[in-house]
């Protein structure tokens, strides 16, 4: 176990301690101060990797987990995962710092908040540093679950629950599709390690599962990264507290999909399908997000749509850049590699300015009590620092100098122009309209950025519409956005330092074949010359964007010409409603409330599946040649068992029945004694004693058996089911001996003493050879126990009111 593994586990372990720390320090200290140490130390730890990684090193550490299944906890750190790791830890620190001032320690359930946040952080770190696809998948789903908890943090609000459910349904649907794709990928590559898959890319490329695996994995990436049309969950997820939104939906979670696409580009990139799907979905998302952002009136919704569009931009760049792998190391591919570089660059830029904007919007919400643009205005004089920060963040997003967004936006235009001249993959008309669409999207981006700044901060203050007296936020709340805004400017002035240490190594993670060729030595400069088309595109964006912003009120009505009924949101709601209706209908058909009916279902099903299966495959075969002779004692015990079974059926009191059932169990224990299985006999005896006592406890509370119940009319259907069930059981038991397809595995366990140091083979099997089984069994047992406890205690605590949900 290396430090790298430990780093991934640290957030999980510290989440375990949160409740104890919380109880200890609650009244005096905001627990966030302690939690801040976790991401901060991770950030410092990761920071020291930068110089090694930029010199071309990478680290691979393995801890065997289930080596028999090639599932190992393998961590891999290269430029790509390092950039993501730094973002997760760095923005995580800032978000926790911000949340200390944002969330009141008196009113909020802070321990839940930080547990969820740490779970999420650990899952994200695990996701980006895992090399084994199954471990990656596990972390992927933990991010889905922990973000569900985070979005539903204010669970008493209906919108929060709705948004959380929506995000979970969509991302887990994608996650399951991705799992199928990953399984296909591991079958094709014959390995579970992404490293080795990259090396086997040419083999994978030729197989028939290539396209299905590609589509399924992209489904996972697109749902997570809120690409069109799965983007509908992101605006609803804004119901979460603002620090969460800043973390999940600008900096980390939605970028998991981007990470996956980038990580698997060496495997799938260079194929026409990957290029077309990734770049066109990205482009559509970019357009859809930016156009829809303009009409939003809620500031957070506006940011949500802008996030969607920016993620589309990054996705589109990754798609365009994947062409570089088509040529291998040829220098002509260097042109397309710019797109990959731009994607990484913009990803980091986006995290800085979007994180800053989210925090500022949170401040506005916190200080004014509203996020509705129609109620805001004129905050410039009242909140000068927030105003400055908003300017920096949104101008960077709009792609204006002197902010980092300008540089990556220019590179985006470069990449788009390069791609439009491409001759591979029959790009044709798409290449012709690609720069135009990208430009249109940029114009809309410009407009919503201006809306964000000027509708909020200029104009008249309308105190009548605000709940609170507006003033600037406390200094502590401003620290985090100020740091991020500082990065926005710093990156603009020294982009090549960042490029050397972070972006180029990260791009090499996406394009490993470029290592050492120098094709990726891209220099970023803010000024090229008057003649570059990128510059004129930017100038065009500013001119047309300003014009359109000034006339926004005249044409914004165009949006409402589109019928509001036909949206993916309504499709989703409709789907949920239909599913609920159908499942309720089906459930009402079979949930009768009578145990008798359920037993009929269970046994009918068993007879059909087991009996039918045996019958279909000619499983009923009897072989009595190896049977031991039946002794006198065994006949006696069987007769006793039959007698107790009949007593259960025909007794008039419950007490007699229960004792008879217990007697049946004790007789079975005698069988084990006869067959020289002391362990089983012991277990059977004690289990029987305890269950009998439990039954007595349960039945103590039931009313006495009444005569009329015992005279149930003879039912032909029940009789058939009972007889068939008994017959099938007997036949299966009898034919068990006739099937010896494989040699017995018991020989292996005979070595229990040399292998496990145990003379008791049964115990060695339980705790050593098959320890995973036992571990999960006691887990199931405990969960069942907790279930019983909750069911009974909740009812006692006045849960009766909840009945009648139907």
């Amino acid at each position: 176990m290396s430090w790298l593994h430990l780093m991934i586990l640290v957030p999980f372990i510290s989440a375990l301690f949160v409740p104890f720390i919380y109880n200890r320090f609650t009244p005096k200290l905001h627990i966030g101060w302690i939690m801040l140490l976790v991401p901060l130390s991770i950030f410092v730890y990761l920071f020291q990797f930068i110089s090694d990684i930029s010199n071309g090193f990478s680290y691979l550490e393995t801890v065997p987990w289930l080596p028999a299944y090639d599932i190992n906890f393998t961590t891999y750190i290269d430029g790509l995962s390092l950039v993501f790791g730094l973002l997760i830890a760095g923005i995580g620190s800032l978000v926790i710092l911000y949340s200390i001032y944002y969330l009141s320690k008196e009113r909020e359930a802070l321990h839940n908040f930080y547990i969820y946040l740490l779970l999420f952080m650990g899952a994200m770190l695990g996701l980006v540093f895992s090399d084994n696809i199954y471990v990656l998948y596990v972390f992927w789903e933990i991010t889905s679950i922990s973000s569900f908890l985070l979005i539903a943090y204010w669970y008493e609000r209906e919108r929060s629950r709705y948004g959380a459910q929506k995000s979970m349904l969509i991302t887990i649907f994608g996650g399951l599709a991705m799992l199928a794709g990953l399984i296909m990928l591991s079958l094709m590559a014959d390995t579970n390690s992404i490293r080795e898959m990259v090396n086997h890319a040419s083999i994978i490329f030729e197989q028939s599962l290539f396209i299905p695996a590609l589509i399924l994995i992209l489904l996972g990436a697109f749902t997570k990264s809120a690409q069109f049309p799965f983007s509908i969950w992101l605006p609803d997820a804004m119901e979460a507290p603002t620090p969460i939104s800043a973390y999940l939906h600008s900096a980390t979670m939605v970028k998991a999909g981007i990470y996956l696409v980038a990580r698997l580009t060496p495997v799938f990139g260079g194929s026409a399908e990957w290029f077309w799907i990734v770049s066109s979905v990205g482009l559509i998302t970019l357009l859809y997000g930016s156009v829809n952002a303009v009409r939003q009136t809620d500031l957070k919704a506006l940011l949500a749509y802008s996030t969607i569009s920016q993620l589309g931009l990054i996705m589109c760049l990754l798609g365009l850049g994947s062409v570089a792998l088509f040529f291998g190391q040829a220098s002509e591919s260097a042109v397309y590699a710019v797109a990959i570089f731009a994607a990484i660059f913009h990803l980091v830029n986006h995290s800085t300015f979007k994180g800053c904007l989210f925090m500022v919007i949170g401040i506005i919400d916190h200080e004014t009590g509203t996020r509705d643009i129609r109620h805001l205005g004129g905050l410039m004089g009242l909140m000068p620092v927030s105003f400055t920060l908003t300017i920096i963040g949104s101008f960077a997003m709009a792609g204006l100098p002197p902010f980092n967004g300008f540089l990556s936006k220019e590179m985006f235009f470069t990449a788009v122009l390069n791609a439009s001249e491409m001759t591979e993959f029959k790009i044709g008309w798409f290449g012709a309209i690609l720069p135009f669409l990208a430009w249109i999207a940029s114009v809309f981006t410009f407009i919503y950025c201006m809306v964000l700044v000027f509708r909020t901060f200029r104009g008249k203050v309308r105190p009548g519409r605000l709940d609170k007296k507006v003033q600037e936020a406390p200094a502590g709340m401003l620290i985090s956005p100020i740091i991020l805004a500082a990065f926005v400017i710093i990156i603009f002035f020294i982009p090549n330092v960042f490029a050397h240490y972070l972006f180029i190594p990260a791009s090499l993670g996406v394009l490993p074949s470029f290592a050492g060729t120098g094709n990726l030595d891209i220099r970023i400069s803010a000024w090229h010359s008057w003649l570059t088309p990128e510059l004129w595109m930017t100038i065009g964006v500013i001119v047309l964007g300003t014009l359109l912003y000034l006339t926004l009120r005249r044409w914004v009505r165009l949006y409402f010409l589109y019928p509001q009924v036909i949206t993916f949101n309504n499709l989703y709601d409709f789907g949920i409603a239909i599913t609920q209706d159908v499942s309720r209908w089906i459930t009402n058909r079979y949930m009768t409330g009578f145990i008798r009916d359920y037993l009929v279902y269970i046994f009918t099903f068993l007879v059909i599946i087991v009996g039918g299966g045996f019958w279909l495959f000619n499983g009923f075969s009897f072989d009595s040649s190896q049977d031991a002779p039946i002794t006198f004692y065994e006949v006696g015990i069987v007769l006793g068992m039959v007698a107790t079974a009949l007593t259960v059926l025909f007794s008039n009191s419950r007490l007699t029945s229960i004792i008879a059932v217990g007697g049946l169990g004790f007789l079975i224990a005698f069988f084990f004694v006869l067959f020289q299985a002391p362990d089983l006999a012991l277990t059977q005896l004690v289990v029987e004693t305890i269950t009998t006592a439990l039954f007595l406890l349960c039945f103590y509370h039931l009313p006495k058996l009444r005569k009329e119940i015992s005279r149930v009319p003879f039912k032909i259907g029940n009789a058939i089911v009972a007889l068939a069930g008994g017959a099938v059981f007997t036949l299966v038991a009898l034919s068990a001996n006739g099937h010896r397809v494989f040699d017995s595995i018991s020989g292996y366990y005979k070595d229990s003493f040399p292998l496990a140091g145990a003379k008791n083979m049964v115990n060695a099997i339980l705790v050593d050879f098959r320890g995973v089984d036992t571990m999960l069994e006691i887990l199931v047992l405990t969960i069942a126990g907790m279930g019983v406890y909750t069911l009974i205690k909740l009812r006692l605590a006045g849960g009766d009111k909840n009945e009648g949900t139907e």
């Binding site: 176990m1 305890i690 349960c698 907790m786 019983v788």
Partner: protein, 141 residues
């Protein structure tokens, strides 16, 4: 439950419980080499406490035995998982068990196996779950 008035069962229980406890511990400790182990040891332990419940009042036993069995169950599972994960810290696959022999003053040559630690988890989970279920049902009125 009703106030029981059985002198015989009360007297027998007082003696029997001690014997069952001893037997349960013996079952658990000897489990590595003789019939027994965490599961059965835990169950025997549970049955001893169950006998107390049946003989004396639930409240009486609980006041003499103030343990939250939910916590016992949870810590049992936690112990089992952590001993399994412990091997990963030493760069071994999950749930790798090891054993060795040491010389103890009174017991002589004694075997120490990590599997026994794992078994403690099993026993605690069984005791905790069994008694949680029994107590919640017994408490229900």
């Amino acid at each position: 439950m009703k106030e029981p008035n059985d002198v015989i069962i009360r007297s027998v229980t007082k003696v029997a419980v001690v014997i069952i406890f001893t037997f349960a511990i013996n079952l658990f400790v000897s489990g590595h080499h003789q019939p027994g182990g965490g599961f059965i040891g835990g169950l025997a332990f549970t049955s001893a406490i169950l006998l107390l419940f049946l003989t004396f009042d639930l409240e009486t036993v609980r006041s003499k035995f103030p343990v939250d069995f939910k916590v016992v169950a949870a810590s049992g599972v936690l112990i089992a998982v952590l001993t399994g994960a412990g091997s990963m810290i030493l760069d071994m696959p999950f749930l790798t068990q090891a054993f060795g022999h040491i010389d103890l003053p009174v017991f002589g040559q004694t075997e120490i196996a990590t599997a026994v630690l794992f078994d403690v988890g099993v026993a605690l989970a069984v005791i905790g779950t069994g008694l949680t279920i029994i107590m919640s049902i017994g408490d229900d009125r």
